[in-house]
Amino acid sequence: MLGKKRRFRGGDIPTSSMADIAFLLLIFFLVTTTIDMDKGLGMVLPAEGEELEINKKNILNCLINSSGNVLLGGDPVEVRNLSKAVRQKIAENDKLVISVKAHKASNYKDYIRVIDQLKQANATRISIAESD
């Protein structure tokens, strides 16, 4: 050890650890970036002035009142059982359009619960009536 000669051996920057440093940076970015995917209930609104006339037989009204109770085609329904009821009605009439109408003072949460139930019943024809 002590007998080792000390002489200048060129001025190279050690690059062997470069890869490790870059890996560390890469892992840091991979860990810190949270990819919070946006998810939610998809819906396509009808275009302005594209109101269609629908046969009354093919409309199923779904009303939500301000306390979150649901009236499906005139009968009060528990939100939990809504998808079952809707599925039944769709089985009877596959042209059925479900018209969701919420009271102005009703909560958004109740509305989402209803839409979610309709989606669970595989209802594709959902119309959103303007609340009044």
């Binding site: 870059a22 970036t33 998809g42 819906m43 009808p46 302005e48 102005k104 619960r113 959103i128 609340s131």
Partner: protein
């Protein structure tokens, strides 16, 4: 310089380009990750089961609605009537636009309904009710 013997085979994996490869990966990840641009309003999202993922962040525009009835787009507050203008411009710039409605679960439907109307007028028809995954 030593003169190498010809019989000795050089059997090392070349690692000199390793940092370059990793830097490329690093830059790729840095470029592709879109950081959250706007902070929005403090809301608690409703829960739903049948949720879909939004395909692309680049074609998504958010509308925040708080329980007090405030509407915020890109950290600016708007009245319900103002939504139409903003969304129309966005829609013109990007025909694939999907509007993500981040509304508080206690927001009133009257306001949400007004936003529906405004979006229809702005021709921004693809809507997504942002919600959390419900667990049974």
């Amino acid at each position: 310089m030593k003169i190498r013997r010809k019989t000795q085979l050089d059997s090392e994996i070349p690692t000199a380009s390793m940092p370059d490869i990793i830097f490329m990966l690093l830059i790729f990840f840095m470029v592709t990750t879109v950081l959250r641009e706007y902070s929005g309003l403090p809301i608690s999202l409703p829960k739903a089961k049948r949720i879909e993922k939004l395909k692309s962040k680049r074609h998504t525009s958010h509308i925040w609605v708080s329980k007090e009835g405030l509407i915020s787009i890109e950290d600016k507050l708007y009245q319900a009537e103002g939504v139409r203008h903003v969304m129309y411009e966005k829609r013109v710039a990007d025909p694939q636009l999907v509007v993500s409605l981040k509304s508080d679960e206690r927001a009133k439907m009257g306001l949400v309904s007004d936003i529906h109307t405004e979006l229809r007028k702005a021709d921004a028809l693809k809507l997504n009710y942002s919600s959390k995954t419900a667990v049974d």
